[in-house]
Symmetry: C2
Subunit: 686 residues, 2 copies
Amino acid sequence: MVRARGTEFGKKAAAERGSSQGREGREAPSRVVIEGVSPELDGGRFPVKRTVGESVAVSGDIHADGHDELVAVLLHRVDSDRDWSETPLQPLGNDRWRASFRVERQAPHVYTLEAWLDPFLTWRRGLLRKSEVGRVERVDLLVGAELVEEAAGRAGGPAVRALRSWAKALRPVRAELAAQVGRALDEELRALMLRHADRGAGVRYAKELRVEVDRERARFSTWYEMFPRSAASEAGRHGTFRDCESRLDEIAEMGFDVLYLPPIHPIGDAHRKGRNNNPLAEAGEVGSPWAIGAAEGGHTAIHPQLGSVADFQRLVKAAQRRGIEIALDFAAQCSPDHPWVKQHPLWFRSRPDGTVQYAENPPKKYEDIYPLNFESPEWRGLWEALLEVVRFWIGQGVRVFRVDNPHTKPYRFWEWLIAEVRREHADVLFLAEAFTRPRVMYQLAKLGFTQSYTYFAWRNTKAELTEYFTELSRGEASEYFRANLWPNTPDILTEYLQFGGRPAFMTRLALAATLGASYGIYGPAFELSENRPRSAGGEEYLDSEKYEIRFWDRDNADSLRPFIARVNRIRRENPALQQDRNLHFHAVDNEQLIAYSKSSEDGTNTILTVVNLDPHHAHSGWMELPLAELSLSAQQPYQVHDLLTDARFLWSGPRNYVHLDPREAPAHIFRLRRKVRTERDFDYFL
Amino acid sequence: MVRARGTEFGKKAAAERGSSQGREGREAPSRVVIEGVSPELDGGRFPVKRTVGESVAVSGDIHADGHDELVAVLLHRVDSDRDWSETPLQPLGNDRWRASFRVERQAPHVYTLEAWLDPFLTWRRGLLRKSEVGRVERVDLLVGAELVEEAAGRAGGPAVRALRSWAKALRPVRAELAAQVGRALDEELRALMLRHADRGAGVRYAKELRVEVDRERARFSTWYEMFPRSAASEAGRHGTFRDCESRLDEIAEMGFDVLYLPPIHPIGDAHRKGRNNNPLAEAGEVGSPWAIGAAEGGHTAIHPQLGSVADFQRLVKAAQRRGIEIALDFAAQCSPDHPWVKQHPLWFRSRPDGTVQYAENPPKKYEDIYPLNFESPEWRGLWEALLEVVRFWIGQGVRVFRVDNPHTKPYRFWEWLIAEVRREHADVLFLAEAFTRPRVMYQLAKLGFTQSYTYFAWRNTKAELTEYFTELSRGEASEYFRANLWPNTPDILTEYLQFGGRPAFMTRLALAATLGASYGIYGPAFELSENRPRSAGGEEYLDSEKYEIRFWDRDNADSLRPFIARVNRIRRENPALQQDRNLHFHAVDNEQLIAYSKSSEDGTNTILTVVNLDPHHAHSGWMELPLAELSLSAQQPYQVHDLLTDARFLWSGPRNYVHLDPREAPAHIFRLRRKVRTERDFDYFL
């Protein structure tokens, strides 16, 4: 099938014509250059990422010698399809051109650019200018007639007759010149000529650039992290998968759609850590779930106290019924008791004294963890075994993995593993927990991770937030790095949360949920505003769940559960909040107030968020909105509807007053409602 | 021959080891990534440009998973050599690395990057940290001894024994631990281990990037444009090459080293233009030299009234003796009388009425010019014929061509022609006269033009000059676009010159000569401050030499000849002014005063220029110098020596007062002389 949707240019699919770049045939080399194409990650080495329904805006520098009219098109298709779709590129000035296409299916797409110089359009422009000053000559029309005749030669079907008839009309047989010129400039002829342009002397960009297409949750997801062993309904008991099941309703009501469980495997006994990371556990202490592997098994086994594989499958299905996916932790490391230590000694580094090298960050030692040796002579076996682990859990119904410390395992390993998994199961998502240097985080995202943790937890001031989220939403990273914002994790209790009280938790939740299409919290510590650190100046929790079972008073009156539920409902109901490349910051004349908006691609849904960053004091200020960019009129008032409080305000003009008291609500999440007129002249707000 | 200059890393040339990128052998893929390499023009499609003795600063993003110590080197060589030279890359932070190399020969160079993770350095860092807190164990030293033993296995010659001896020293046979650690951290061992590092698990950047190396005049040149037919010593006579010869001393005394002549070929008769571009010449009028070709011949013929080929050769040699090169105009277009019009009708476009298509920019017509059809079916013959034209003049001793309107001929043609010419004669230089859109100008420079005209003529304000020359000297363009600044040309008499009087000419000359390592003037119109336009609002000269012979009163007392000579001497004597990537602007608190400095690469020569941009009024202001960047001390005074007036000032600190009256001198061209102390404690200024 030959398609040419959304274009005026063509029946012939461009794929049928070869690129003329570098050809050495009878015809002269193409005069057109296409360069500076964007997005193009590392010269096309990596794909950009989209979810079904999202657009890719492609631009490039396209130019040629001289002053001939240039026509350029964006070509795009599902990779496995044969034929290109075409969209005309629009000139932006300074030889830059741009067009967009929408990815319609969850399958890899490719795109490229094609351009050519159009003699007919060049001739037409000249004729127009000459006609404006009354300097058209008969021969000018003959030149045009020749071009139309040539197009007839290229065309097929009814177009041949139409073009011949146009050519005839241009030949001046005693006709009045002005009428001839009018005919020559007819829009219908222009469109016909464009459809049958001679693209043989054009050029196709040398690369076909790729788009990796994910399902929607890759872009828009709301995560809840919970230690299953703390899920028991009464204190003092080791939680089970059954207990987790009974928590699902509450999690669904709060509006989460991914439930992430720290490792669920048997925990090693050797060098087991005690409460508050004591170097050695006392008898009966449960240890860290990240010390994976014991006599009962390794990465494909389940901690006996949590339940059976059947229990786990039940949990997965029960969650599914509530729209929740279970995300598992994938931590490629072993406790000294992991079966692999004996079965595959070469998968670990051994020391000259015959002992196995434990994890260390000198002078710190982590003797309860053996890192895997990805450079082992048996690396292939190790890589395959880790892939088998992922396959095993996919077999149990898991489609989301949170990967622990991917930045301490080789890039090539992840690139290979993710590609292998996605070849078999394109719906599997990977979240990279790489709290490390920016280029390393970006590299992991480029080579396949679906989502990534970010520096959000440590970006607190307006300047920090604005700079960081401008980079993430508008820089090149926005093409491949999908941020997942976590105000807290079991490893991260920030100073801001330690000292800001309950309002700080509300502020950080509002920011995470509106700045990021994907965010998550480590709860119930979060909804209960747990903020006691193990030591001053540190970010570890006191009595951290990493080393012990906690019982949480979930029904505490101060729980943020209702607030979280409200925020997450706003996210679900407003498509503007379900994407990231649409973020724009707005000026407020108070450093403690930050304002930003997001609009859905069709422009019908706009959310304006204002947050008070100071958890201790009320702040007010004047905010300045770019009315035109928000499709608001400077003449007409507009309504802002605070979806948190249900309050509505009528605003007009770009400058408006905002006031936020953290003791009441630290944020406005406004939906903008534009005033419009119907044909009946009733006012209402859209 | 194996070379490893300027590096501590190695006897083995890296070229002897294969890149591990993508290898599928027994060893695991490399963990290192090299990306974001700069300079890299369009993914390596085009070379960067240098002249002999210049440096190339190369940087790249280099990183790996984990926290191992990374070592990276810049590899560079003359393309035709077999072995690489190496320079260690230095980390700049944020995983960016940089190093420089100098091109030593006028031959294409190539460069690339290589990096690897170094287990010994990683181990050494760990040992150091452990030793700082007294936590070294015997086994730590054994691990190090193993690494040294492995290096001995890789090494050859005396290094084997040295490494074995080090390994032995690390094995703790009853030795005191602290002493062992001291030995392990010995710098000599570190250097030895670096030289015998295991680079097998490293990675070589996939591309070898190219440097095109020119002779010095490509970078530093001073051009004088002159119509030979106006060179006669008395009014009313058609000038000759002999007349040009008698002008050479004067041109040499002014300090020019390129004498550019507009086309010297027979001029067409058909549609010949008259004085002041009258559509039709009267009998006896000389016509435009750009209407190339008549019965006497075309692009390889000489206008009979200028002289013979022998006369031309004499002129070339006479100029050479004075250090001046003759630059010819290469205008790939024909008058209707050019022999090619009859010999090769297919090299032109014909119209349906059988006439040849003349040049036009509708509704304007240029009937005295036939453009060549580079897309003709006989394009190969045409391209070859044009190459033959260039070869012909090279045969007459010409090594510099000023190419007329290259932007109206295909990119591919120029890329091919320049490559062909430079394959045979690497010393030939091409100046692109492409006054067109930025990307087109940059493209021509990328594909081979040695130098390029610029927008300088129209950049008059401080903001305009600062923005444009920052782009040219520090942007990517600085790697391939060599600016040649012309305050005027026969086509360009700017408003600034029209209305600024003699001071305007001085200002623009001072700017051109100090902002640009290459600049040129169209004289004698320039030195005589010729500023009468043909029409108000236009940039054409009244009584332009393009259409008639002019007799110039060269000995006029107001001639800028002495000023020009002084400025050009300053340029010759100060290497800082002979390059472009060293330009830095400095703040002055007066919008009419612009200040900037250039320093030679070795830092011994610094020129600070201050120009009054207002040709009508004196201006003064406080200038702020970045003392540290200029290697000046904030504590000690420094001398600024105005090379235009020979005045010397003693300044101190960053802020100093400047005053410039355009009626006296519109510019300071200061040489900075730093105060230094010798061992004898005499003060003097370097």
